[in-house]
Amino acid sequence: MRSTSEIQWEFGGPLTSASPGLAWTVLLAVLALGLYLAYANYFKRSGTIPKHRRRILFLLRAFFLCGVVLCLANPTRIERHLLDAPAPQPLAVLIDRSASMTLPDNRGQTRLESASRQWEKIRNHAQEHFQEIEYASFAREMKSAGSWEAAVSADLPDAETMLFESLSTLLEKAPLGGYGGILTVTDGVDTSQESASPLLGQLLASRTPLYFLPGTNRLRPRALLQIREVDLPQEVVRQSQFDYHAVIEIFAETDREMKISIKKDDGPPFIETVKVKAGNTLFPWSHKLASAEPGDVQIEFTVEDGERSKTALHQVRVLETLDSNILYYQGALDWGFHFMNRVMSREPGFKITALFNPRSGATIRSGTDKDDTTGLPDRARGLTKFQTVILANVFISQLSALQQQALSDYVRDGGGLLVILPNTEAAIDFAGSPLEAMLPVVFENESSLSRREAAEADLLSKVGQSQAIQQRGPLPMNAAALDVLKPFKIPENSPLSALLETPGANASQRIVPKFVDYAKVQSAKPGAEILAEHPTERNPATGQPRILLATQAFGKGKVSVLTTDSLWRWHLSIPSGSKEASTFWQQLLLWLGQSASQEKLRFVERTTETPSGAISTLTLSGSEETPVVTATGPEGKVAAVKIESGETPMEWSVQWTPDVEGVWRLQAEAGVQRTADRFFLSTDASAFSKDDSHLPPAMDTMRELAAATGGTLIQGAAPASWSAGTGMVEPQMVSERRELLWNQWWLLLTIFGAYAVELILRRRWQLV
């Protein structure tokens, strides 16, 4: 941390926007006029007053005028506390040394060799832009290396490619200040079956752009069909809808049809046939399922491509009510909580703890839950009992650095966070804050917000207040025309679109929230999802519709920003018997907090397959006490399970070895009524491992991941951003203090004292 101090002339009023030269010209002209008038007054008038007295009076007047002009120029001392300019951020080059990168094609060329040639073309650009480059290689695990050559020749070839895990490790080992970027030389294949979401959150939090330098060759791939990951809730509420998401990976030598079917218990299956083109396809598929009455429901998901078939089994618990603990933290006073709490308190299972921080030093508790939370916790541990935290009308100055860190840790561990911004001023306030790093939108900063716009708003406010003072009359009855409720525009592909569908109704009967005011944000961050947009207004800078609701994954959790008013006007406009508002909040909050099951026992991984005969490691989350886990295979075969402490106090590492192929069921228990169930299909290990299965480079995966972090997939030339000077990071301003230098009692007293003395002397010397 370092401090700087400088003195600036900050002309006010009509001179605010004038250049310093013009402002000084105006002021000096005024001064010259004043001096001339004083001169004319004292020296060009007849009288008996001696010359030396005239000089004294003129000097007093001149002193006064100079003093006033000096004050008008508004000298201001500006003290800034800056975080020391961070050391230049190096580029990390991470080289994939797994088997798929080192297998030669029919020309004897490997993907690594092809990537090496591309690297030589862009090496100088990288060197110039980043100044420092660090190297590492990975296959099963990441290892540092001193140079490209050392990394390439590292003795690492392995059948496993832990791409996401290695990137994550690299980020954890980043130097102070982080990397300016990570260039990954790979074919994009990751054999860990892990999702890229946690890594994406880590990259966004550290603001590290990811670049991919793809390694390609002409290897002929083997056929493949795999259910790569599956996502569905472990528990759902009765008579509701829930989504089943799956990602299927298929490599086919010819165009073909893939049959996908899903069924609940012994009910009729839903079958869909999709056409798959020759080559490698990563196919996301989702289907909406309806829950029935409370109990356990078995779900069977099958994919077939004519030659192969894969099945995944799941068990979902249908509950009468779904418990959801919400922490509602409100800064400035607003009606949002009153109306949300009114509708949500009728929903069984929802408990709201509300904390209001309406003024400095005051915290008021409210809500339906009578727990012992008295303030916004400054440790993530204090937040784990909540599935979702809502920050409503909170200004960043109301949150300490520790509280912001706690929120960040809480979301990273799976919590849901909804930030409701009341107006553009609050949004601007967030710009540059540590909390902003995890939010899905880029806030306007004061310099990017039109000063004219701010001045107009200020003027309108003053005019309004002035009219109120003068007239003391009511708002015109037609003033409501200014408060017209506008509907959210919900893009069809937005997850909100499905969430707000009424079960059994068609899409036109979807719930559409309405708003009056909204805060302007600059844009969505790379990787963020826009859930709702303004129906008409667009950002003039980008031409894109203004964002009303956006979300992004951060670590294991989700963060959303609602930029509209707190929707209380919409609540008041809905007939009292309507469930629209409660459905909206219920669905949004459950969706946001669905990963926040720190206190619910669950297996973290989304995979459904595991290699037979190999040690399989899973993460079990949601218990402080050691859970009991059993693994039961085909024909009641039981496998030994080893349980060890995980990375966090609530996590456990579960190791087991399915020694026969078939369906295995893992059941975990911890405490009273806390269980978790997962089914795994154990398959032939050689077929399972695909690093050496000649899969083509996963170009789409690499492109999407890079774009989401602000990086790019490098093909041929160096990224354009590398040509824009060096990657030096500007020092970050922590605080700024402005002191008006003229605003000193002794200075003002001296200036006006000179004038007072002049007036007294004029009287005494009988010069009226």
């Binding site: 309004g464 003391r472 609540h571």
Partner: protein, 239 residues
Amino acid sequence: MKTKTSLVSFFSPFLLCGLFMVITNTQAAEPPRGGKVQWARLMTNYPHWARHTETEFFLLEYIRDNTTLDIDLRWAIADINRMESLSRYPFVYAEGIQTVTNPVAQANLREYLLRGGFLLIDACINVAVNPEPDVFLAGQLLRMKEILPEATITPIPPQHEIFKTYFELDRRPQSYMNNVYDPRWEKHPMYAVELDGRVVSIISLAALKCGWSFDVNPPELRINSMKMMINIYAFSLIH
């Protein structure tokens, strides 16, 4: 000419001071505020529904100065006969609802309260308006029972959180006609109208509006009336 120059010279410092004040008109930074909201009077067929609205400004300015509420300094009219008018305001101030017998108006007010709106009924202390406090109260209770028959109406005890929600108040402020103590008004507490365990309305005979509108005795009663008003507002807003 000489006199003119002398005058100009004499007043030029004052002109410069004026210019100085214009140029350095640096307003104190506004505190962070929540969403925009308007203060509304309930317009009914009661002839006194808009009584002393000319002093509403004092209260609204006090609210703006002492809270983070982004409340408009102009008061608005919530027409009981039009649901779309009522549903613009989360909190409505009424002089009384004893004359609200029209079924449409009653149905609108009921729907407003069921949707989450909040109604404060505050008696005027003037004997020309309310000569008998008991009669005023009976009128409010009668209409409230017609509008919300399922609601319960109970006195608010002195230790209730409403007296310290935002400002810590030792006691309920009470205004009197011409500042002359009158036990007939003093004896009445405030009454809470509860629906499903939630306060949806408050009936006050404390004459808070009279308190903030006039020179009252003791002088702090004026401020305390506004503080009580803020407490009621904040209470309704956080529940």
